[in-house]
Symmetry: C5
Subunit: 99 residues, 5 copies
């Protein structure tokens, strides 16, 4: 899954009819310190994620396996809101952790 942050919303009136009522969120990829990376994508929200929240995104056919996106022409879904993350092997301890 991709780690990202909801930064905005897309409005689209003219769309495939199976997409009626879905919310399209703009999600920017983030690093493990939640700093913004360059890439972003648009994902359907299945868990009620709001602007500013850190989320996980499932892409491809897996993006269609939530209750909301089944058989829909969408390739990315927000399927979890991140409470926090624990980095147990930081780069500074990379080598010793390998031993």
């Amino acid at each position: 899954m991709l780690l990202g942050r909801v930064v905005g919303t897309i409005w689209a009136t003219k769309k495939d009819e199976k997409l009626e009522g879905m919310k399209f969120q703009i999600v920017r990829a983030v690093d493990l310190d939640y700093r913004p990376l360059n890439n972003f994508l648009v994902a359907v929200d299945s868990v009620g994620a709001g602007a500013g929240e850190i989320v996980l995104i499932a892409q491809g056919s897996s993006g269609r396996l939530t209750w909301l996106t089944k058989d829909k022409p969408v390739d990315a879904v927000i399927m979890a809101i991140v409470d926090r993350l624990d980095v147990e092997v930081p780069e500074s301890e990379w080598e010793e952790a390998l031993k």
Copy 2:
């Protein structure tokens, strides 16, 4: 989904017979200010998108889930035309929004 802009059209007479009558659009990826990015792709249009319009594209097997592309050998479809987008967390407010 990928955010992009329709910039042109592909003409192909010789093609898989299941593709008869489909319109192949050239879509350039754009950033959140609609500025052109480097990558582009060719997508089937399922919503009547014209040149210059900002659109969303679903890729992979999800690209085959519109009425038009079902079971067709296409891996990208325009499934929505973007009216506008709202960026609620700009990079300038990234840090404070995290607090």
Copy 3:
């Protein structure tokens, strides 16, 4: 779909038996002026594309939806030969076209 150009052929005697008789073409990605880009891939040809021709490629599971590639272990297929392309929104007219 990816826009590319057939630049060569792969010969492989030892292969999955379901691939018997298929032609594996080397396709280099091209830009909208048909100039070569850095990436290339190997695709099965389902439309009789010859060396030098500009083609469209469907990837992933969509690459298995031509008559030739159904249920085969291939992830890229040439499904159309490009006659020509029309760029209606060149980068030089990007801004005014947005208004």
Copy 4:
């Protein structure tokens, strides 16, 4: 499959209900000397991999083919823990090995 190393864990209370009880691991891609590469992803753990371990990850629909991830909205799964790897053709012997 992607070669990577488990470096941490994601905590997410609010998620698709089918994801209940799954462990989301942060996995950083590594090179053949187990040095960290730039990209990372979040994967469900199906084999009991702990922090610091070198693992293999299957992505896309293949990520849903373990006992744990079947029909779930996840696109990456840890499906093996790497004991060791043997590089038989190092770059220093690339040319002679081709002869």
Copy 5:
């Protein structure tokens, strides 16, 4: 398909039970002169490819369509061993070949 070269082997005792007996090969991507590129991946071998051989790899769900990998949690399979490749449109003749 990806063009690559088998450079080594992965050993993994603890893995999804459906993977028992499979050989995981390390494959480095190569260019059309068989020079090593930066990226590599791990693929299941379905055709008996040995170290040093040039191979084709099918990725994604297509990687599960060999006799060996059906319904298995793997996303890349070696499905052909390359005997040779013919480049019919080298970059030095790119322009004239377009005419």
